[in-house]
Amino acid sequence: MPVFDRRYRGYAGPRRAERAAVWTLARFALRHLFDSKLTLVLAVAVGLVPLGFGTFVYLANNLDVLQSAGIQVDLSLVDNGTFFAFLSVQTALAFLFAAFVGPALVGPDFAHGALPLYLSRPISRGGYVAGKLLALLLPLSLATWVPGLALVGLQAALAPGWLGGHARVPLTLFFGSWIWILMVSLVVLAISAWIRWRPVATGAVFGFFLIGEAFGLAINQFLDTRWGSILALDDSVETIWQSLMGGATIFGRPVVQEPLPVAACAAMLTLVTAAALAAFRAKVKGAEVSR
């Protein structure tokens, strides 16, 4: 009768670097991202806008196509304003996406006490934060700067020499998008970690941005100042975009009326981003005392 050796043997297979755990977290989170119908609807909406802008860019560079079809139009040339409008629409949709999808990424982990399970594996608190952040930043990147740069590429291909005169546009699309999506992602994750319950977390994300903006306007009105607008985070980021682009107009008017100093807007956005990161990280603990 054979006797098998059943003693414990340590794992001898290949080991992945500790940093790989971050990607594992993000990969698993992304796998379930599109389980919800709402996420799919939002993703389709986010994808349709670049198609619309792409059509506009194509037609603006091929007016003869429309004229041959008997349509007389006066499409203005593609300029900074076009890409500013693209950035505004896509970041608004990215915000909606993050507000509805983000809480599902971390809310259940906190609500069901799963943090000790994560942190008992070879992953640090920072790694957990990075993994979840990555899972949100990837789709938001696909919604904002990736199609933005593709549109710039299309315009540059259709109008040789255009890029030389608009070199700041792709930089604004890239850096401007990152400023917004990083802040929104961290705010969503921080609120979701503290509130835990998904619907209320989504409501709180909306409230954070909308109430902040309305509160800023109320400050402007009651205290007779314009500094209340610093609480309107979307206005602050638009001020930075306008500065990065070196000015942008839509229908002949500057997109941001009476902007605050760019440094103040940048300081505000940095403060919010840092506070959100600190708030999220503070909540990521391997053990929690319940009273």
Partner: protein, 279 residues
């Protein structure tokens, strides 16, 4: 049932009272209610800031009528549309979906209590908590807006002048908003696992209300609430004019809507089953 003391209006009222006490203790008088309290006190913070900054800056006190006009904007565009809306969302949806989230709804459903009484108890608890919170916030706002030294003859305007009538109207509108939005969000919590999706659509609808044709403007809570406000506000150059609803129609209209929503929610509550796995 009534003869044995386990049914009838008096017994149900006792159950609602018991639920009210329980909800106030376990839901509202806890640290988790702090965010809603902070949101409710945002306008107070703004007005307190003004009361502190104005004397330091050495500016002249503003005329009471001008302050009343500016406060009308803040009440309608900030307090009513956002603070009360989000506050009611947080309070009333938590009453049902929060129980599901914390796996405690079945305790209610296992108790010898009619589902309609359960719903009424939840609604009354939310009404008392939200009504008290927003009324206190409103009282503080009015006192700070018309504080002497910042507003010329503010006290006289608020307590002896037209301000008293305005204040009463604001309190009435706030309570009516709590009833309307409260019933709406409580009903949504019974029908949707994630009530934020319909709430976001509703927020958008209420937000663009001034851009809608007059007939559609009336299909909203905010239009009727704004009709009851004592001072009209400028709604911007793109607003489509719509006649305000007379108070004799606006108040019963909102109350009727609330009753209809609660009746619908009660019908849903009768068939409510708890399957925590999905949440």
């Amino acid at each position: 049932m009534g003869a044995t003391g386990t049914g009838g209006a008096a017994f149900w009222a006792t159950q609602v009272r018991a639920m009210l006490g329980l909800e106030l203790k376990k839901t509202f008088l806890r640290a988790r209610a702090l965010p809603v309290v902070l949101v409710a006190l945002l306008p107070v913070t703004l007005l307190a800031l003004r009361a502190v900054v104005h004397p330091i800056s050495g500016g002249d006190p503003a005329p009471a009528a001008e302050v009343a006009r500016v406060y009308g904007h803040i009440f309608q565009l900030f307090f009513l549309r956002l603070v009360v809306f989000f506050g009611c969302f947080g309070i009333f949806t938590y009453l049902v979906r929060g129980e599901t989230s914390e796996r405690s709804l079945h305790f209610y459903l296992l108790s010898p209590m009619r589902r309609e009484v359960f719903l009424a108890g939840k609604f009354v608890a939310g009404l008392v908590a939200a009504g008290a919170l927003f009324s206190v916030s409103l009282a503080l706002q009015l006192l700070l807006a018309f504080v002497p030294g910042v507003t010329t003859n503010g006290t006289g305007y608020l307590f002896a002048g037209p301000g008293a009538g305005h204040a009463l109207a604001y309190f009435g509108v706030t309570l009516l908003a709590v009833v309307g939005y409260g019933a709406l969000f409580l009903a949504l919590a019974f029908f949707f696992r994630n009530p934020m999706i319909p709430a976001a659509i509703l927020l958008g609808w209420e937000w663009i209300n001034f851009l809608l044709p007059p007939v559609l403007q009336k299909v909203s809570v905010i239009h009727h609430l704004q009709s009851l406000c004592p001072l009209p506000v400028d709604r911007g150059p793109f607003a489509l004019p719509a006649a305000p609803t007379p108070p004799a129609l606006a108040v019963p209209g909102v109350l009727l809507l609330a009753a209809l929503l609660l009746w619908t929610a009660a019908r849903r509550a009768r068939k409510l089953e708890v399957t925590y796995a999905g949440d």
